[in-house]
């Protein structure tokens, strides 16, 4: 099966995954209203039901869901937050705090408006047109009194694009699990290597997919790894097939 035909039954959408993507890109489904966790759960259910993992599909899914998550978070952030993903935890915490306070402030203000409206309940205003004798007479302006430049200016204003959200770094998966498997097996021929070596200079996506490939090798019984301390180096070595598997915590 391909990822495209993954059937989804979500709160705001029901149908195949590729249709959902199309609708999101055509803005007919609002990404902000879509619970991405629901999509991930649907995919996990699907994996469960099939009992096997198609690596190509898995890679595609990870990339797409990551892209949707990033797009969604960008939609919710201000336009000049391009660098947000790379900011320090302190900055991120400040930023998040500011946003939480904002949201909380206006939720409270909304409750206050509700109270005001309740206080005014039953107050009606008169909405009766003026007697004919008093109605305002509107006079057409003189011929040629309007400047055509007003029209050109309006079009110029309407042509202006909002600041663009760059998606260049997303989209087509540049790295696949299969490719990373080959890479790891190549390194394994040396007997052992460290994970840091395997992902040196790689971007986040490649690191994630490489980890995924490593897990797959572990599942197939081809590798073992050890890590002396938390956040320390992960040493990967080929598993000696004859011996019983040694379980190592990651």
């Amino acid at each position: 099966m391909t990822l495209a035909s993954l059937e989804l039954d979500l709160e705001i959408f029901s149908g195949p995954f590729d249709l959902l993507l199309t609708l999101i890109l055509r803005e007919e489904v609002d990404l902000l209203e879509l619970q991405l966790a629901e999509v991930v759960l649907a995919y996990l259910d699907h994996l469960e039901a099939r009992g096997e993992l198609d690596l190509e599909t898995a890679t595609e899914f990870i990339v797409l869901i990551a892209a949707l998550l990033e797009l969604k978070s960008r939609l919710m952030l201000t336009g000049d937050d391009e660098e947000l993903l790379d900011i320090e935890p302190e900055q991120a915490a400040e930023e998040l705090l500011a946003r939480m306070l904002d949201a909380r402030r206006y939720r409270a203000a909304a409750a206050h408006l509700g109270e005001l409206l309740e206080r005014e309940r039953g107050v009606r205003f008169r909405a009766v047109p003026l007697p004919a004798s008093l109605r305002q007479t509107i006079v057409q302006p003189q011929d040629g009194s309007q400047d055509p430049r007003v029209l050109g200016e309006a079009i110029g204003r309407l042509l202006r694009m909002p600041p663009e959200i760059s998606l260049r770094h997303m989209g087509v998966p540049r790295v696949s699990v299969a490719e990373r498997l080959t890479h790891l097996r190549g390194l394994l021929r040396r007997g052992r290597f460290s994970f840091d070596e395997a992902v040196r200079g790689a971007d986040r996506m490649t690191v994630a997919v490489t980890l995924f490939a490593l897990l797959e090798l572990y599942k197939r019984g081809e590798v073992d790894w050890e890590q002396e301390e938390s956040f320390g180096e992960i040493a990967v070595r080929a598993r000696v097939q004859e011996l019983p598997a040694e379980r190592m915590a990651g």
Binding site: L151, I155, G156, M161, L167
Partner: protein, 218 residues
Amino acid sequence: MSEKTDADGRVSETMDADDQAGETAELTRTIEALLFLAPDPLSEKELAEATQAEDAEVRAAIERLAEEYAPGRRGIALRELAGGWTLASDPHAEDAARRLFSRQRVATLTPAQAETLAIVAYLQPISRPEITRIRGVSADSATATLLERGLIEESGHSQFGAVLYRTGVQFLKLFGLRSLDDLPDVARWDPTPEEQAELRDRLLRAGEARAGGGPHGS
């Protein structure tokens, strides 16, 4: 109404009279509010139904209201008209009302109207849904006003059945143009003149990007 057993009975009588007066006052206020709000005269029957009072009570309340609104006392008059009762402004305020409301006003274009008119002028014929997509917000009331003033007019239907608009006879006159060819070149105000796509496509794209903040052309 409360019945109080009393030695001579006078107290309870007084109470009743007070209660009655209080109720009439209450009903009078309610009827005053209804007459204030209603655009047309209200019959005594309508008032009785709305207030769930007896016809006689309604009549008593209206009599009381008529005293409060006795001619010359207030700026609002109570009138019996078309089988019902209505409130109207007193004619003595006519001059002030005319100064306030009837000033002749030269119709100028609001920003929303100017924008809608510009879209029709440059892209005609164009449907209202397209205008809305370009503006990012509804153009219904602007379109209605422009139609009414003869600045735009209907021009057939699109293949999807939407009414199309083009500029109308008043348009060229108002802007002092001999023909549509005299419209100024948009390039002067174009923020990205290097773009090659058609004006319509570019406007639609920009409008959609502005409206939703959704994903757009990377």
